[in-house]
């Protein structure tokens, strides 16, 4: 157990009364509540936390923020709760948390992959485009597997994720992103308006940079007290919601902002109480104030990536917020003023500090005076040319810059920690995502928000304002304006040390082509890689980025982009804006798939629609198949039966006795109004004016392009009322298409459409005994053949409940479709089933339905047809009205290719071997020995064992099929070809006698 040798005696926002332990690479370390994993490790003197992507260089923490590129760890919270690539800098320390380093073997300290570092002269940017091409077959088998295994950082989770994730849609008048000084002031200003305010911040507690500011005062009180007062003030407003641990990661159209809230990861495993791990917030905000702060820039010099070399402000955070000494002997290398504040705080915490300032002495007089007052040594006008150490920095090599720009003699400053500050980059990510335009501000060397695309304001450091009082005032003004309050307010606050001289790459005394000065740490992109890219003609920053991969690591270039852009601009001798800024894409920081998926998994991935009879089917052993969102009974196996046997038995039962089938999923639309028949005439290929009430007719519907869209039986209930059925999958599509035509093309028609798919459950009774079994339960309807012939509809009662009873058949047998109100369906089904048992009633599923209709040559839309089939193609050309002036799709039927010869037509197929069942989808050829590409005639659309025929049967679409009756063709099989004969597609009862069965 460690004793935290680098923990400072006093200070910090950690809770020393709540110690905790975490594990890292098998060792146990102690820390306190309020620590991150990084601060815990550093408190214990552990700086080596990771290995870089390409060269496997030893790396430590660079930043304590979300911009951390190096210290990426796996986090293990128990079974199934393991995930890679967590930033140690923001990963909250939780008692019992197990972490591990990544991308190293066999250990972090000794990593074989570091051989890449030795080979780095070869492995420069884009090297793989230039080699690995010979021999050709080696790419897949040798080169690529090696490259892939070397890349990739952490290891993907191994099993399903046991955690729950929540979603929340929210609306507010004002969303403030970032609870630093500007964001807090904005929320404070808006709070009193009474409007709904949301304030989101990615850190565990609000306050932003003020949480590590121990010297500033605001309006006379210490900054951290001001934070506490402000939070208390906001909490007192019911209209304000403060969301800590919540990152706004995506700014989408029309002020739609996505945030992710981390709810349980900071809690010990036993304390989560079933709460979701994370919550995705989708906020529609009237106004947005972005107060997202800024990121510090590293300095680019040789070997600037050793563990112990960090961003300067991060050292200040470690000391002031976490009470951790990142080292005892610290050198701060800087090109700007903010590092002096860091130095003062480090010194105040008892650490030895030296400042190396690349600015000439005359350019940093005020800063050096400030340092001198505090007894801090400053080397102004010095560049950094290298560092020493291997797994931890042991010295910084510096050299004076001469007036002529040359570099003087080197000297090494011994140290165990380095802070670097290359200036600041406003975090304009969300602003840029909102499609606001950025403009380059040369004075600040930064891209700043210029013109807005949405109802948005940027305030504070993200808009280039660094002084505390100015940030507060800007935030307040933004919040007030966003809340339509005409208010401003001045704040009194300690002045901040701001300003820097941008320096893309530190001047050096050696051949810059030989040193490795890292720009993008994680992806191991060096300044010389950028130079190589420019040399090779990659001049757009997007090209440079893609060629070198700079800015494409998991930190998305937060620390590297400005250095890269500035350096490339310098190489090209162009202004920065001419080289461009890379586009910022969501998410701001990586977001778990789980949070994005939310509840939509398992049973909630997609609704499973069930019919009212589903429970009966399940209880009776049905196998189910998914059909669009529905689950339908597929077949009802009896003990030991496979699908083939069950379907054969079910088919026989329907042909010889009685089958009962749940057809409830059929789409149903009630078409009502004086113009109903006219509307139907326009929507369907056939005519409806002459269909008498009480009659049914099979209808066929096209899309405007002339191809079959849907079909179904239509019953005319009254002059002005049709009960239209559609296919199961087509129900929504057909209704939508009808509504579209009705509302937008023919608004003059007096017709209304109502979906009744789920009002009416449909029980199909099919088979010679259908009438006999049904009759006793029907009242008010005469079922006799004369009174109710095939294709008729009657309204009355069955089992005492209202019914729309249709005498229709999709099987070729005497049949009824009993429509009953859905809540009554199960009861009616059970009554009919019980009564039918004496007659051998057999429940059947969709597979049997398919076989029975195929025996009759009936098509199924979507199986015999795809989106390229006309009525004539499937032998239904006769249905197309010759007298109607127009209907949807009619004109297209006359297009040249739709009337050309050689179209595929529906035929039947019989294999020479009556037991051979063809594959649905099999292709049909004349000559199987023809050279590739073998010309194809068509394909098998349906294929079954037909109990009625005692053999297999198939339907197929075959070019000029109707002219090929009797021809023998060859059909593909998994192993070769089968021979088959083309025939008429009706296999059973071609005369259609059975459906007209006389009264028994």
């Amino acid at each position: 157990m460690s004793r935290q040798p680098f923990r400072l005696e006093r200070g910090g926002r950690i809770d020393r009364s709540r110690p905790l332990t975490i594990r890292f690479d098998g060792e146990t370390f102690t820390g306190y509540a309020g620590d991150t994993v990084a601060s815990t490790l550093l408190a214990n003197g552990v700086h080596l936390m990771g290995r870089s992507f390409k060269y496997h260089r030893p790396r430590g923490l660079l930043s304590v923020g979300t911009d951390e590129p190096n210290a990426l760890l796996s986090a293990d919270r128990g079974a199934g709760r393991v995930d890679p690539n967590n930033r140690a800098s923001v990963l909250e320390a939780v008692d019992g948390l197990v972490t591990g380093s990544q991308n190293r073997w066999p250990s972090l300290a000794f990593d074989v992959g570091a051989v890449n570092d030795v080979l780095s002269p070869v492995f420069v940017a884009g090297f793989y485009y230039k080699t690995f091409m010979w021999p050709r077959s080696f790419w897949d088998k040798v080169y690529e597997p090696i490259i892939r295994a070397a890349a990739g950082l952490g290891v993907a989770p191994a099993g399903p994720d046991p955690d729950r994730y929540a979603h929340r849609h929210a609306h507010c008048d004002l969303l403030v992103v970032g609870a630093g000084p500007a964001g807090l002031a904005a929320a404070l200003a808006a709070a009193r308006s009474g409007k709904r305010v949301m304030l989101a911040d990615e850190q565990a507690e609000p306050g932003g940079a003020l949480l590590h500011d121990v010297t500033s005062t605001i309006d006379g009180v210490p900054a951290q007290d001001w934070v506490a007062q402000t939070i208390a003030a906001l909490d007192a407003h019911e209209n304000v919601v403060v969301l800590p641990r919540t990152t706004a990661f995506g700014y989408y159209n029309h002020n739609h902002v996505a945030l992710v809230e981390r709810i349980t990861d900071h809690l010990p495993a036993g304390d989560t109480h079933g709460a979701p791990r994370e919550r995705l917030w989708q906020v529609r905000a009237g106004e947005v104030v972005l107060a997202t702060g800024s990121h510090e820039r590293p300095l680019v010099f040789a070997d600037n990536d050793r563990p112990g070399i960090m961003l300067a402000e991060s050292l200040r955070i470690l000391v002031n917020r976490y009470a951790v000494a990142p080292g005892r002997e610290i050198v701060l290398a800087t090109t700007g003023s903010s590092a002096y504040t860091v130095a003062a705080d480090l010194k105040a915490a008892g650490l030895a500090v030296t400042i190396v300032d690349a600015r000439l002495a005359v350019d940093c007089v005020a800063d050096t005076a400030f340092a001198a007052e505090r007894g801090i040594t400053v080397l102004p006008g010095h560049t950094v040319v290298g560092s020493k150490g291997r797994l931890r920095v042991s010295g910084l090599i510096v050299a004076p810059l001469r007036a002529d720009g040359s570099v003087g003699p080197r000297r090494t400053l011994a140290c165990d920690c380095v802070g670097m500050s290359g200036g600041w980059t406003p975090a304009v990510h969300l602003f840029s995502q909102s499609r606001g335009k950025l403009a380059y501000d040369a004075g600040q060397d930064a891209f700043l928000p210029a013109s807005h695309a949405q109802a948005e304001r940027s305030a504070g450091a993200c808009a280039g304002t660094y002084d505390l009082a100015a940030c507060l005032a800007a935030g307040f003004a933004a919040g007030a304006q966003a809340a339509s309050l005409d208010e401003t307010r001045a704040f009194e606050a300690s002045p901040a040390r701001t300003g820097f001289q941008p320096m893309r790459v530190m001047p050096t005394d050696v051949d810059p082509g030989r040193v490795r000065a890292f720009v993008d740490f994680q992806n191991d992109v060096t300044a010389k890689d950028l130079k190589l890219a420019v040399r090779e003609g990659f001049h757009s920053i997007e090209h440079v980025k893609r060629y070198t991969t700079t800015g494409m690591a998991t930190d998305q270039g937060k620390t590297s982009n400005m250095n890269a852009l500035g350096y490339v601009a310098g190489l090209l001798d162009k202004e920065l804006p001419q080289v461009g800024t890379t586009t910022f894409r969501p998410p701001y920081t990586p977001v778990s798939f789980g949070a994005l998926v939310g509840p939509s998994k398992g049973a909630l991935f997609d609704p499973v629609r069930k019919t009212p009879i589903d429970s009966w089917a399940e209880a009776n052993g049905a196998a189910f198949e998914p059909v669009s969102l529905w689950r339908r009974a597929w077949y009802f196996p009896e003990d030991g039966e496979d699908m083939h046997a069950a379907v054969a038995r079910e088919c026989a039962a329907v042909r010889e006795g009685l089958g009962i089938f749940d057809a409830s999923t059929l789409g149903k639309i009630e078409v009502v109004g004086p113009d109903a028949a006219e509307f139907m005439n326009r929507m369907y290929v056939n005519g409806w004016s002459k269909l008498a009430p009480g009659k049914c007719r099979y209808g066929l519907m096209l899309k405007e392009d002339g191809f079959i869209l849907d079909d179904g039986v239509v019953a005319r209930l009254a002059e002005d009322r049709f009960h239209v059925t559609t296919t199961t999958g087509g129900a929504a599509r057909v209704l939508a298409l009808m509504e579209d035509y009705l509302q937008t093309e023919w608004p003059d028609l007096d017709v209304f459409l109502t979906s009744v798919t789920e009002q009416w459950a449909v029980i199909a009774l099919q088979g010679p005994k259908a009438r006999e079994v049904l009759a006793p339960f029907v009242s008010d309807i005469d079922l006799s053949n004369e009174a109710m012939p095939h294709m008729s509809v009657r309204e009355g009662y069955v089992c005492g409940v209202p019914t729309r009873l249709m005498r229709v058949s999709f099987t070729g047998e005497l049949g009824y479709e009993v429509n009953v109100p859905a809540d009554h369906a199960l009861s009616v089904w059970e009554t009919l089933y019980d009564a039918g048992r004496a007659h051998g009633i057999t429940p059947y599923g969709t597979e049997t339905m398919h076989v029975l209709r195929a025996e009759k040559g009936f098509i199924i839309v979507g199986q015999e047809t795809d989106g390229t089939v006309t009525p004539d193609d499937v032998g239904l050309g006769g249905m197309v009205s010759k007298v109607k002036r127009d209907f949807v799709g009619m004109r297209s039927l006359a297009r040249p290719d739709l009337v050309a010869s050689g179209r595929k037509q529906l035929v039947g197929l019989e294999t020479l071997d009556p037991n051979e069942r063809l594959d649905e989808g099999a292709q049909i050829v004349v000559d199987p020995s023809a050279p590739v590409p073998v010309p194809m005639l068509g394909h098998v659309t349906s294929s079954y064992w037909s109990p009625a025929c005692g053999r297999t049967i198939a339907l197929a679409l075959v070019a000029d099929g109707r002219a090929r009756m009797g021809e023998t063709v060859h059909v593909t099989t998994p192993g070769g070809f089968a021979r088959a004969t083309i025939r008429n597609p009706v296999f059973v009862d071609a005369e259609g006698v059975r459906v007209h069965a006389r009264d028994s």
């Binding site: 690539n85 050709r136 690529e144 990739g152 082509g513 798939f593 059909v627 290719d897």
Partner: protein, 418 residues
């Protein structure tokens, strides 16, 4: 120009890689060219390469509004396959796959065509019918494609969840082993370098603002650009999502609509996903890049847009499906989410060929699937531009098919179930 190979790479390594020159020049436009190609994506640059290499036409300029490869070439999920149903499509995409197979060597630029296999999952009986139809048709067309049982599919792609109780169980899969992925940026750069080597001028930051036509014949005589007028005997427009905008400047209305298409990648992880998996039923496709990122594609947003930005709901919907099929990825994180602009024709097949304007040719309408076709598309379009007549492979992909009704509708052929 230096050839790329291990020897040159090692030799440069010893001298700090200072000997590499530009991969392509950055010339000012000449007064006129034999052929101008509008659009510096993979298809356009490839067209220039094949014009020079196959047809000996080197007085060619590629005009790019921004930076080459910056459109859909650099924004797609890099899936390559040729297992299309219809003869016309199968021949086109197979032509492309064959060119992919030798492309690195042809260009002397490693485009990393990785034939790791593309697997399409069948989730219901209808999918099975449709995919088997593809498998059989492909085989007769000389395109590899095979049917796998769920167990075989999982053996090929271990993260696959083949639990039969899943909301959309895997009933089988069609696998094209020769399919795979490639490094998209390298395709643009490789073609640019190869074309440049043969004398083609690649002109970036040059937007075509209008067309000049012969008043007598109506034929195109050149283009107005932000760098001035440039004469041309023939002009080929290969502008993907912006084709309608460009063609309107030539007075031609196209049967095209431009939609946002989104994709996303995860943080990089060690190899975990060996192939490409597509699931049409749940609208998702996924592979893992050589860098380790899971590369995930979604469907288009529903509305026409040139904003290169879509709604979050498209990505979340896709991830729903990905996590349902691959539950282990729930704790992976989305690293980057972006959008492109895809131009979609009514039958979702491309238009490659002549236009009503003499001398003006167009290659567009690749929708969500253009990357895979890059070499084949470029090769036949070069033929069309060089000879004035379509190559037999692109002959069916005319603008006129919308008049005759002879559509090539692969999506319709996979019609949704009854």
């Amino acid at each position: 120009m230096r050839r790329f190979n291990l020897a040159s790479l090692l030799s440069e390594a010893t001298r700090g890689h200072t000997g590499w020159g530009r991969q392509w020049r950055s010339p000012e436009p000449k007064a006129s060219y034999d052929v101008i190609i509008v659009g510096g994506g993979g298809h356009g640059l490839g067209t220039a390469h094949y014009l020079a290499k196959v047809h000996g036409i080197t007085n060619v300029a590629v005009l790019e509004k921004g930076w080459i490869g910056g459109g859909n070439t650099g924004r797609n999920t890099t899936i390559i396959r040729s297992n299309y149903l219809y003869d016309e499509s199968a021949h086109l995409y197979e032509h492309s796959v064959k060119l992919w197979e030798g492309l690195s060597q042809d260009l002397n630029y490693n485009v990393m065509y990785s034939q790791r296999g593309v697997m399409m999952l069948a989730h219901n009986v209808h999918d099975v019918q449709v995919f088997k139809r593809h498998v059989y048709a492909n085989r007769l067309n000389g395109v590899d494609n095979e049917w796998l049982t769920p167990e075989e599919a999982q053996a090929y792609c271990p993260p696959l969840n083949i639990d039969r109780s899943a909301r959309y169980p895997v009933l089988g899969a069609a696998l094209q082993r020769r399919g795979g992925t490639a490094r998209h940026d390298a395709v643009a750069w490789g073609y640019a370098r190869a074309a440049d080597q043969r004398g083609v001028d690649i002109i970036q930051n040059c937007e075509v603002t209008g067309f000049r036509r012969d008043p007598a014949t109506g034929a195109v005589t050149g283009v107005e650009t932000t760098k001035g007028f440039i004469g041309a005997k023939r002009v080929g427009v290969v502008a993907a999502g912006h084709t309608s905008v460009i063609m309107e400047r030539a007075g031609v209305r196209m049967p095209l609509q431009s939609f946002p298409l989104q994709a996303l990648v995860s943080e990089p992880v060690k190899p975990v996903f060996p192939c490409v998996v597509m699931s049409n039923a749940v609208h998702a496709y996924i592979s893992q890049s050589d860098k380790g990122e899971l590369v995930i594609g979604a469907g288009t947003d529903q509305y026409v847009s040139y904003s290169q930005q879509g709604g979050l709901q498209i990505s979340t919907h896709t991830l729903d499906a990905i996590c349902e099929i691959f539950p282990r990825f729930s704790r992976m994180r989305m690293l980057r989410n972006w959008g492109g602009i895809v131009d979609v024709t009514p039958d979702r097949s491309p238009i490659i060929g002549k236009t009503p304007v003499p001398g003006l040719y167009v290659n567009c309408g690749w929708g969500t699937g253009g990357f895979k076709a890059t070499p084949g598309s470029a090769h036949v379009f070069a033929h069309t531009l060089a000879t004035g007549e379509p190559h037999p492979i692109n002959a069916p992909f005319t603008l006129d098919r919308f008049r005759t009704g002879r559509l090539i509708d692969e999506a319709a052929a996979a019609a949704v179930a009854h």
